[in-house]
């Protein structure tokens, strides 16, 4: 699977929840998937157009005076499941913070501590957001068992953020020893 079809996957997924405009797809992705996925307009519209050409997506102009609504066709839903089942090929990691810290001796301990503090602050902020979302989603799960899957992605973010914070603590100790 090319990387492009990762974008297709995200778009098809968004439209599988409900039909909506391209603009709304973007909003749905940055809002709901925002903690682990991102797409820009420049990707979304061409992708929708390609999916429409391939018969996976249908445009419903209907009586609307402006804008259109896009929805999955049957083939589109099948294609979505197909893409979901493919193994995830992850891109090589690129962590700018670690790259900087690796050469930290050229920067000095003070600057490195600042970089670490920044990382901790970002992680703490993200953790707070995720805690709030987790609370909501846990409530949803009681009503709809399928909401578990959404909860999984929130849990992943929480674990990751907490690990980041613990790492910063340990690292600061190591630097000030």
């Amino acid at each position: 699977m090319s990387k492009m079809s990762q974008t297709e996957l995200a778009v098809l997924g968004a439209l599988s929840v409900q039909s909506m405009s391209g603009y709304a797809v973007r909003a749905a992705i940055t809002g709901t998937l925002g903690h682990f996925w991102g797409e820009s307009f420049g990707q979304i519209y061409p992708t929708i157009a390609r999916l429409e050409g391939a018969g996976f997506v249908e445009r419903d102009v209907a009586g609307k005076t402006s804008g259109s609504t896009f929805g999955l066709t049957l083939a589109g839903r099948k294609r979505l499941v197909e893409l979901l089942a493919e193994p995830n090929q992850s891109a090589p990691p690129r962590n700018g913070t670690l790259l900087r810290l690796f050469f930290g001796s050229l920067l000095g301990p003070e600057v490195c501590q600042q970089i670490l503090d920044d990382a901790r602050m970002r992680a703490e902020q993200q953790l707070a957001e995720l805690d709030a979302i987790a609370h909501e989603v846990r409530a949803e799960v009681r009503a709809d068992p399928d909401a578990r899957y959404r909860l999984l992605t929130v849990l992943a973010g929480q674990h990751s953020a907490r690990a980041q914070i613990a790492w910063v603590e340990e690292s600061l100790e190591l630097l000030t020893m």
Copy 2:
């Protein structure tokens, strides 16, 4: 800072440790920085050429019959510190595993459990590698305090891998409830 200068940063960093060929830069990056950074030949050679044009890197053909050695100039070392000091602008995250699990209800619990097991296996394998490296680097730190910075990046990987494993455990429980 453009994203390109992230590649410049990695290349300058590699050459700051010692002068070497472009081929060796690639080996150094995939080897030593491999757990949090990746570069391909197609990026490295043009980047070295650009750095050479800008006067940050010097080519030393010397008496060698083939190949050349690249080393940092004074301006190059200054440039490296400059880039290191710039704030890290991280790319929007793209986690294919989470994207799939988010739409897990379309795949069913069994497939999702398999995805989680895969993730755990990869994390465990990475953790084992990192544990070994950490052992080595801790020994180096006793001789050279500057090796701490290398240790930081290894610690980050360990925390991240352990978090991943803990997340899988919790998620599997949630799915089999």
